[in-house]
C-alpha cells in the first residue's frame, strides 16, 4: 500500500491524519513481509506513522529514560519557569520512533544501518505528528543493497521537527538475509 503523501495528509486535520497511521502491531511485525531491494524505487514513500502523544505518555517516557527534567511532565513548571508552550515531547523519543520505523521497514531480514537527523521545533502533548520518508537513492553491493532515505517528522501544521537521512540495507529477492552482525559495505 502506498503511503498517503505528507502534503495531502496535512490537509486532513489532526483527527483525519490519525486515520492514516500505518504503525504495525506486534503480530504484524512478527509476520512482516520482507521488502526486497528490488521492490524499492527512487521516489517511493515509506510507511506513514502518525502519533498523538498524551501527557501520560510523555511521563512514561521520562520514567523509561530516567529523565526527570520537569519540562517534559510538569505543566506549571514548563509554563511558568521555562516559558514553554507546554510539556515537551522528548528528543530521545523522536530518536526512538525514527529508529523503530526504519527497523520495522527492513524486517525481517534487512538491517537499519544508519541515520542522522536534527531535533527542531517544540512539540507539546496532544499534538499530532507524522513521520514521512522518501527513497532518494539505492545502491547494489555484493550480498545486499542499500537504500538511502530522506525523512522527517512533521506536526499537524507541517512544522518540521526532525529532518534527516538514513541508509537501510535490504536483501535481494532470492538472496540471503542481510548478514548479522551487520558489516557496512565500505568496511
Amino acid at each position: 500500500m502506498m503511503a498517503i503523501p505528507v502534503e495531502q495528509l496535512l490537509t486532513l486535520g489532526p483527527d483525519g491524519m490519525l486515520k492514516h497511521d500505518e504503525t504495525p502491531n506486534v503480530e504484524q511485525l512478527r509476520n512482516a513481509k520482507q521488502t526486497y531491494f528490488e521492490d524499492v524505487n527512487v521516489g517511493d514513500d515509506l510507511p506513514r506513522y502518525v502519533h498523538r502523544l498524551s501527557a501520560p505518555e510523555l511521563a512514561r517516557w521520562c520514567i523509561t529514560m530516567e529523565n526527570t527534567h520537569r519540562l517534559h511532565y510538569d505543566l506549571a513548571h514548563a509554563h511558568n519557569h521555562d516559558n514553554l508552550p507546554g510539556a515537551l515531547f522528548h528528543g530521545t523519543w523522536r530518536m526512538s520512533i525514527i529508529s523503530k520505523w526504519l527497523k520495522d521497514w527492513s524486517l525481517p531480514d534487512g538491517w537499519f544501518w544508519k541515520a542522522s537527523w536534527q531535533v527542531r521545533e517544540m512539540v507539546t502533548a496532544n499534538e499530532t505528528i507524522a513521520l514521512w520518508g522518501k527513497v532518494i537513492d539505492k545502491q547494489e553491493y555484493g550480498k545486499y543493497g542499500v537504500v538511502h532515505v530522506e525523512f522527517g517528522m512533521v506536526n499537524e501544521e507541517g512544522w518540521e521537527g526532525a529532518p534527516g537521512a538514513a541508509s537501510v540495507a535490504l536483501p535481494y529477492r532470492g538472496g540471503e538475509p542481510v548478514p548479522y552482525p551487520f558489516t557496512p559495505p565500505d568496511a
Binding site: G13, P14, A76, H79, N80, H81, N83, P85, T124, E127, N155, E156, E157
Partner: protein, 91 residues
Amino acid sequence: MPRYIAIADKPGLTAEAFSEALDRTGKWRFAKRAWIVKAYCVLDPGKLVIECEAQDKRQFTEWLDANGWSTPDVQRVDFVQEAGEVWPMRS
C-alpha cells in the same frame, strides 16, 4: 518572554466560537514565539480571560483582533501563582 493577560467582555460568546479559535496547534501557537498559555471562557454574560506569552504585546492584540476579541484591557503579568508556587514572569 513576557506574559500578557487580556480581559474582554464579549456578550453572545459561544462554546463553538471559543473552541474554534483554539482547537489546533497553529491556532493557539500562532507564531514561533507566541502562544496562548491558558484561556477562560464564561458564556453568560460573555467574558474572556486569556493568558499569552509573546515577544511583543502587539502579536497578542493582533491575535485577539483576528478572533473578534479585541479589548483595551491587555496587561503585562508580573507574577503567577500556580500549584502552590509563586513564579515571577520573565521580561
